[in-house]
């Protein structure tokens, strides 16, 4: 059983923000009205965190993309009252929008604030309704959503693999962000597969996870900047 994980090399990542756009486009994420945005209700599945270290003028800016970390020991799934968010055997944390009752307990429980909530009915001009990605369903008002590691892509990839009876190749299943990162900073693959790039990178000396002390065991692994 594969275990999907993401490795983000902060040494390469320039912080261009393309992953955010790719993600929004791929997953039909609603774009809230400016007023909503001002109230802090913007929806990014992939967000960009910026940390300023050091004293002027020797400032180091640490900027890294933050998807859902798909923890191996997720705090969010434990508290869900209706099984709307859960961890499947491939280690993906699923969010089932039609099961969710919108209690937002999972958002509260997530130490990485990786989840976002549809405060209002998401709306688009009819024109933009043409260019929805048909593989991803639209969310409705009052449910929680989050990065899915583009699980809908996995469905197709699996199908291809099964139909010509083979394993899923390395780099065959890539989320939108990893696929279009201009700096090749985002790698994605199977942690169980010893040959996969991700496996090898995750064992590098630079590898670290966000807030490991919490014991959530994120499956998004960052590689420190080289100095």
């Amino acid at each position: 059983m594969p275990k999907w994980a993401m490795v983000i090399d902060l040494d390469k990542c320039t912080g261009c923000g393309d992953c955010i756009a790719a993600c929004k486009l791929e997953n039909n994420i609603a774009i809230v009205s400016p007023e909503e945005a001002n109230d802090g209700r913007v929806m990014f599945w992939m967000d960009m965190i910026t940390i300023y270290e050091g004293e002027y003028p020797n400032i180091r800016v640490k900027r890294f993309p933050k998807p859902c970390f798909h923890c191996d020991n997720p705090p969010c799934t434990k508290v869900c009252p209706v099984n709307a968010t859960y961890k499947n055997e491939e280690g993906l944390i699923g969010q089932i929008y039609h099961r969710c009752i919108g209690c937002r307990y999972c958002m509260v429980a997530c130490p990485y604030t990786a989840k976002v909530f549809n405060w209002l009915e998401p709306e688009w001009p009819d024109e933009f309704k043409n260019c929805f990605n048909p593989d991803v369903s639209l969310r409705m008002m009052g449910v929680v959503e989050k990065c899915s590691f583009c699980a809908h892509r996995l469905l197709k990839v699996k199908e291809d693999a099964d139909s010509d009876e083979r394993e899923i190749l390395d780099n065959e299943y890539l989320p939108a962000c990893s696929e279009s990162c201009p700096a090749n900073a985002i790698d994605f693959g199977d942690l169980e597969n010893k040959e996969s790039r991700v496996y090898n990178l995750s064992r590098s000396s630079r590898a670290y996870r966000e807030m490991e002390d919490l014991g959530t065991e994120p499956k998004v692994i960052y590689l420190q900047k080289r100095e």
């Binding site: 508290v79 009252p81 209706v82 990485y112």
Partner: protein
């Protein structure tokens, strides 16, 4: 025009008066309350229609008024049953006029508080998912179960001791006789029935206490089960319980004082009752402060960065005003008033209790919001400004509570008549014996 019901010659006439004499005041109050509730209802409908977007919550601060009020109301609910149970257990004779009111508060407030999580749902239409596919692992489900248990228990606990009084009302006749006789379960006041009743009550009061404690512990679990700094602490259970009882007593005191004025129960609710209760309040205040102190002490002493962030935010951030306000209202004011004899008048107690109620609400606010406002990740600090809808629903909740209390006072005596009588008949003798039994020397009185 039904024939006038005779109660004036009764010994406890004042207790019957509110039931049989309806003044203009009653209708006005009910009317106003109804209006408020209607408004709240409209607001809730708008929320269902447009979604939770009409509240002031946002992606970082995802829990707001609804959860705050939920905790707050459930907290108040602890007044009654717990106190009356404890007093009953400890055979405190001064309990007799208090218990009934306390239990009423519990029953009503619990109903309101229990519904708050539903207000908070993004999709109330799917609430049934909890039954079809719930997960008992989720603290929310623990709440659902424990609150239902507590609710049933406390209603039963309110109802059983009321039966003799209902029977009294039934025997008075009048339009509602059928209603009372339905509720009175054919109470005749025979020895056997008394025995049954007393046994039932004594079992109940023993089991109600742990339930009550558990309920509030469980509510604190909602927070402490998460990893959020400022929440993830073991002290939360007792802390919440103390806070609950604290606010509960305050509300009880307020209601007692008010109904004393309104229903002219001066003869029943004597100064001594307030003295005793307010002393209890004072103790709780001190206890509460101790818990608050130790909570922050652990945080500050360990000074785990995220923890510190939030503590600092509470002390100096945009909500600092509310934090210090909380300390003032919950600790300084009540302690000053209640510990100085001169201030410890009825009005003084009233002021103190009101202060405590507000203070406890602020405490809930200070628990819920700041932790959410400072995400562990270096995201912009959120700000939460409750919207009109939230305020209205809060008001509505309070209105429902008052309405419930008023209506109850319309149909049932606010003070347990038979217990008073019992007090008159047996109480004194029984106490005397008991005191004797405490003292050295051979058993006297008891055969």
């Amino acid at each position: 025009m039904p024939k006038k019901i005779q109660y004036e010659n009764e010994l406890d006439a004042p207790l019957f008066r509110p039931i049989y004499e309806t003044g203009k005041g009653f209708y006005i109050t009910v009317g106003i309350l109804m209006l408020i509730i209607l408004w709240a209802l409209i607001m809730y409908i708008t929320q269902i229609w447009f979604g939770l977007g009409v509240t002031g919550m946002n992606q970082t601060i995802t829990w707001g008024f609804y959860i705050i009020n939920f905790v707050f109301f459930i907290g108040i609910s602890h007044a009654g049953t717990l106190i009356s149970a404890i007093l009953r257990l400890s055979r405190a004779e001064w309990r007799r006029p208090i218990t009934r009111m306390a239990e009423v508060i519990t029953a009503i407030v619990l109903a309101i508080g229990g519904l708050h999580p539903i207000l908070d749902l993004g999709r109330p239409d799917r609430v049934l998912n909890i039954f079809t596919s719930g997960r008992l692992q989720s603290p929310l489900l623990w709440d659902v179960t424990s609150i239902t248990a507590y609710f049933t228990a406390s209603t039963v606990y309110l109802y059983l001791p009321m039966i003799p009084d209902i029977a009294k009302l039934r025997d008075k006749g009048g339009k509602l006789t059928w209603f009372y006789s339905f509720l009175s379960w054919g109470w005749q006041g025979t020895e056997h029935q008394k025995k049954v009743l007393n046994r039932a009550i004594s079992i109940l009061m023993i089991m109600v206490i742990p339930i009550a404690i558990s309920v509030h512990t469980v509510i604190s679990y909602i927070f402490s089960m998460t990893l959020q700094p400022g929440w993830h602490s073991t002290i939360f259970g007792p802390y919440f319980v103390v806070g609950a009882i604290f606010s509960g007593i305050a509300v009880l005191l307020i209601l007692m004082i008010v109904s004393r004025k309104v229903f002219h129960l001066e003869d029943y609710l004597k100064k001594i009752h307030f003295q005793y209760l307010s002393t209890l309040l004072l103790i709780m205040a001190l206890l509460w402060f101790y818990f608050t102190f130790s909570e922050f002490l652990t945080g500050i002493f360990g000074s785990e960065p995220h923890e510190m962030e939030i503590i600092h935010y509470k002390f100096t951030g945009p909500y600092a005003l509310f934090f210090w306000g909380m300390l003032l209202l919950n600790f300084i004011i009540p302690v000053i008033i209640l510990s100085i004899k001169r201030f410890k008048t009825i009005t003084g107690i009233l002021i103190a209790s009101i202060a405590v109620v507000i203070g406890m609400w602020l405490e809930r606010l200070n628990i819920v919001v700041p932790s959410l406002a400072n995400p562990r990740m270096e995201l912009p600090i959120g700000i939460y400004i409750p919207s009109l809808v939230e305020w209205s629903l809060f008001l509505g909740g309070i209105a429902v509570f008052i309405l419930g209390f008023v209506l109850f006072s319309k149909f049932f005596p606010l003070i347990s008549i038979w217990e008073i009588e019992e007090g008159r008949e047996e109480g004194i003798k029984e106490v005397e014996e008991r005191v004797h039994s405490y003292l050295p020397g051979k058993e006297t009185g008891s055969k």
